[in-house]
Each structure stands twice: as C-alpha cells, then as structure tokens.
Amino acid sequence: MTMTPASTEGQGRAAPAADPNPPATEPRDWARSILGNQQFLLLVALGALILYFYSKRSVFLSSGEMANILDDFCSLILLAVGETFVIVSGGIDLSVGSTASFAGVIGAFSMRGMVSHNDSEALVLVVGTIVCAAVGAGVGLVNAALINWLRLVPFVATLATLGAGAGMAIVLSHGIPIGDDTRAIIFSQAKVGPFSWPVFIVIGILVISWLYLHLSRYGRYTFALGSNEFAARAAGINVRRHLVSVYVLSGLLSGLGGMFLYLRLGSGAPTSGAGDELRAIAAVVIGGASLLGGSGRLSGTILGGLILTTVTSGLIISNVNPNWDQVAVAVLIALAAALQALRPGRRRA
C-alpha cells in the first residue's frame, strides 16, 4: 500500500529519462485491481450490511439506531486508532482493552471522590479525562520500556501488561464497577444535532490522527519503522524514541477509550474493555493493514470499526442468536486476511 496521497500531477516531470530497468510487467488482472482496493470493498460491505439489516428491521435506519451504533463505535475506535499506529509500526498492542479498563477504574476512583464533593460536572470530567489519559500513557510507556530495554517482542510485552492491567483493575475495584455517576451518563448524552457530543470529539480525534498518520513526518517514520526497521535506523531516525511515542500514543488513546466507557456506563469497571483488544485488532486488520507492519490506512480502520459495530447492533436488532456475532467477526477477519493474500506480494528489499 502506498502512503502518498493520490495525486497524479507532476508525474510527467518525475522521470523523463528512459528507465534503465523497465518495470517487470506484472499480471494485473481485474480481480486483483478491484480486490486491491480495500477501501472500496469495505464501503460496499458496509452498505450491504446496512441494507441487509434494514430489510430485516426498518428501525435499523432510524437516527436512534445510528446513535446506538456510534456510541459503540466511539469507545472502540479510539483503541483501534492507537492500534493502527502500532500495527503500522510493525508491532502489536494486546493491552489496549485492559488499559481502557484499568484507566477507567483509576479515573472512576478519582472522579468518585470529586462527585461526592459535589464538584462541577465539567471539572469532574476534565479531571477524569486527564487521569485516564495519563494512566493510559503510563501503560504505553511500560510497554515501550519492555520492548526497548528488556527486548521483549511486542506480543509478549503487551500480553504481560494486558494481564497486569486487568489484574490490577480487578484488585483495586474488588471486581465491581466503581461509581454510579448518573450525572456523567446524562451529561454525555447531550446532543449536538442528531448525535451526542462525544461523537464529535471522536471525529476530531480521527481527523487529526488521519492527518498525522498519512501526511506528517511522524506518520512517515511510523510506516518506515514498520516497513524496515534497519532502514529507518540507518536513515538516521531515532527508532527507539519513535517506538516509545507510538506505544504511548496507543496507551493514551486507550486511556481515553476508558473515559468514554465511563461516560457510557457511569462507572469504571474492571471488565469494561476486556476483550476489546480483539475488536480493535480486528478493525485494523479488516481495514487492510498488514500485521507485518508498514502498511495500513486509518480510513480502513474506521470502516472496519463501523462494520464491526454495525454487525453487533444489527444482529441484536434483527434478533439473531447473538452467538453469531463472534462468528461474523471471525468471518470478516478471515475475509480480510484472504484479501491480503490476494494482493500483490510484498517483496522485502
């Protein structure tokens, strides 16, 4: 997958000279070129899913139902965005779900104290957000330290923090949700147009993340690191520092995800984010990123997340046996993996 924004002007200037090594003519059959456009396929799939559920239950296209899907999408996508940066950089972060739980529990403790002091709701939520983000970033820092200095592979390092974060969340909370913050639930439901305001915050985060992943030097380094770590280092990039920043970013977004769960549930529970690492990774993989690193698009992750949450809600609303949800996710991942296999093979330089 190329990372240059598509634009063809100037192409003519690029190399007027005869190419000494004309590109090997690759068989580009129609299947490959259509299947190669993952974004397009994802859009078609999303449209088809929406139409299917709509045909089963017309209420599926109501604004109320869209709001339900977006509620679910918002808490998932923050984790998936961080996961996209990590996967593009050639790593994996299994701790995002557990970090969301852990940060949510710590945030809930700090907010509970303030709620009982009757501090203003806005202040409570601002403090909670800062605490959640800080706790998340801290977990990211631990991940990076395990990877950079203890030389653990990301899978093992983040599996360890997954266990530690979830365990600590349980220990601290005694396994039960912390807080019963009705004010937060109602506050977060305030609508701006058809959707509640947190949706717009998430959209803002998505736009900024997209810009930084695809158009900035930070994003370029992330792709370079995942594509060929040696090349990145040899080109003078501070690979370790960049890796730290990627895991901290992922942790920070997971912490914010924990705050979103708090707003939804009015509490921070040690199981709030349990298993969400799977959904986040699934969104990224369905979105077309390679687990080998170096490729992926945030728009793909967003579509992947929308597809996952649409399926979850669609199955509930059309009263299908809910166990199919997991089967559906598995099928989607398998399809995405098959598409990756069909794409032109990446030759490592």
Binding site: S98, G167, I170, T182, R264, G273, A274, G275, N323, A330
Partner: protein, 358 residues
C-alpha cells in the same frame, strides 16, 4: 453458584487473542468457559489466612481449611464473614485461603495441594472448575479429610459430605415475581421484556433464566420475553444490547439482567434515556454498586444471594461431622433461597445483604 466474569474474560480472551493472531480464526472469547458472569469477579486481596493460621495440630483444636475462588471478591468476603463467625462460636481454627485475584483452576489447584499438605481436619472448597478440582477432592477424601463444597461443586459429589449453594432456579422465579410486581402486572395486558445474560454456556445464567421463564409461564401469561442476548462479560456490550432493544421495542416494560455486567449496562442505558422507573430492571447479586443504584430506583429489584449463610453452614456441617462422625442431620445438598431487595427494603436489610468489599 455465582458468577465471576472478568476473570473468565481475562483468561479465556487471552487465549482467544492468541488464536486470532495465529490463525485469524474463530473468536472463542469467553463463551467456552463454563462458569460465570456478573460484575464481579475475582479480585484482590493480599492477605491469606484471615484467622488462626497454623496446622491441624494447634492445641488439639479442629482446623478447617476453606479454599475459595478469589479471596477479595465481595461475594467471598461475605462468605468469609459467615465462616469466621461460625468457627469462632464453635471454637475451631479456620484457614481461609484462595488466590488473591484469579478465579481459575490453574491457581486454585496448587493452593489446595498446599492446604492438604498441612493435614487440616476438614476441607471446604469452592471449586473453580468441576473437573479440574476433582483430583484434589479425591485426594483429600483418600487422606480421610472430609470435604464440603460450597457455591460451586466438583463433578462427582458422591463422596462429598455436603454441597451448599444458592438456588438459581428460585432466584430466577423470584426475579419474575419482582418484575411483575414492579410493572403492576394485570392479567389481560401484554408486557414486553428482555433478558441479558453473560454467555450461553454459563450454568448459573441458564438456571436463573429457566426459573424466570417457568415462573412467567405459570403465573404471568401476559409477559412476553422478546429477546435474549449475551454480554460476553462486558458491560459495554450489555449496554449496546439494551440500547438496541430500547430502539427496537419502544414499549419495553422490563429487563432481567441476569449477571452484573448486564446490570451495569442496562442501568446506564435506562439512565441515559431517562427511562428509570419506566422500565422495570431486575438485577442479580447485591454488590455495593448495584445496591447504590437500587437506592436510586434504577433497579426495581435485586436478587441477593446469601454467601454469609453459605459460609456459616459449611463450617457448621464440617464441624458437626468431625465431632459426631455421622452424616445424620447433614443435608447432602442444600440450596439456600435468595433474598429479594427492592428500593423499599429496610436499611437494615440492605446493610445485611450487601456484599462487603473488605
């Protein structure tokens, strides 16, 4: 029996993660696990023996080893209080020990083995898995140590002295009654209700749901169970489920939240849509968070188990058997009825049945 969701989810989901990454395969997630669900779970702790530690020999006193799933789960803290009080009044030593934070046979088995090495007079155990803990129970019995099961049981109960647990079937029926009362059920009218469970394979959930449905069939023909869904032990998933139901069934009258994750998910959905008092939400287990929401009328009723009594009876039966060497008067299986808490319950009742957190 009770539920321990998050622990289940940590262990089982981790396996699932590996599975997915290895093969992009099936998301087995938590559903494979056979216990469980509820907000709570395992938890913390730290301290091990709460009361007189020490082996069997201390001064000729009887020593009862009590091994539970996860020490600081409020459910087990309540059980500990009952057991402790009974041990004190009977003048026996109690060794209270379980993993601080993990509800899993992998951590439970070594703890039982170590307890048995101390040759206690009796073993009371709450097995985290019916098959995995069977060998440990068999070994105890072979050593001449009588075994009591509490809350959950091993597969083969034939040589176990007694098994004491909450009655999930009765709890489900009580939930139906409480819901009907909260909805002011009148014959001839129709009431749409839904049920949120943690997973299809959680046996406690199935028993509660069966009791709920049987009671409706017998007494409330107007109540229609429109849908059931699983939270996979995640409150956010339960919340999504309930949000969708509220969109799909604008006239929804009742929600039975079988476990704690569904309780928090449903409670949040009702509060977000200002439906508190309009949809009768009945939950399970008297965790402090649930009781706080009950006092805000978010729950119409809570079905509380009685772990304190379970712990007390377990110690009582063990000591009775050790003293008399006879099983007479000791029920082989005993199910304790659940308690229904409502916003109108007395403060004393709420205080008594809320599971303590320390």
């Amino acid at each position: 029996m009770r539920d321990r969701s998050s622990v289940c989810s940590i262990g089982a989901r981790r396996k699932a993660t590996l599975l997915v990454l290895a093969s992009a395969g099936v998301l087995a997630a938590c559903s494979s696990s056979s216990h469980s669900s509820s907000p709570s779970t395992a938890s913390s702790g730290g301290s091990t023996a709460t009361s007189a530690a020490g082996a069997s020999g201390s001064g000729g006193k009887l020593t009862i080893a009590f091994n539970m799933g996860a020490e600081a789960d409020p459910f087990f803290i309540a059980m500990n209080q009952g057991a402790e009080a009974e041990a004190k009044s009977l003048g026996v030593n109690l060794i209270w020990q379980g993993d601080p934070s993990q509800y899993s046979p992998a951590t439970q088995i070594p703890i039982v083995d170590q307890l048995l090495a101390e040759h206690p007079s009796a073993l009371i155990i709450s097995p985290t898995d019916p098959d995995a803990l069977q060998p440990a129970v068999n070994q105890a019995i072979a050593q001449g140590i009588p075994v009591v099961n509490v809350d959950t049981h091993v597969t083969d109960l034939s040589k176990v002295l007694s098994f004491i647990t909450g009655d999930n079937q009765q709890g489900g029926a009580a939930a139906a009654d409480a819901m009907a009362a909260a909805m002011h059920y009148t014959a001839g009218q129709t009431y749409q209700v839904v049920v949120g469970a943690s997973s299809a394979t959680t046996t406690t959930n199935t028993a509660r749901l069966a009791g709920f449905k049987a009671e409706i069939a017998a007494k409330y023909p107007g109540i229609k169970v429109m849908a059931e869904a699983y939270s996979q032990s995640q409150p956010a998933v339960a919340n999504t489920n309930v949000n969708n139901w509220l969109t799909e069934y604008p006239n929804l009258k009742g929600i039975f939240a079988i476990d704690g994750t569904n309780a928090s998910g449903a409670a949040a959905a009702l509060q977000a849509r200002n439906l508190v008092g309009k949809v009768a939400l009945v939950g399970y287990d008297a965790y402090s968070t649930n009781v706080a929401l009950l006092q805000k009328n978010v729950f119409a009723a809570l079905i509380a188990q009685n772990p304190t009594e379970e712990g007390k009876l377990a110690v009582q039966y063990a000591v009775q058997y050790l003293n008399t060497k006879s099983t007479s008067g000791i029920p082989h299986e005993q199910t304790l009825p659940n308690i229904v808490l409502t916003p109108n319950s007395s403060a004393a009742d709420l205080a008594q049945y809320t599971y303590p957190t320390a």
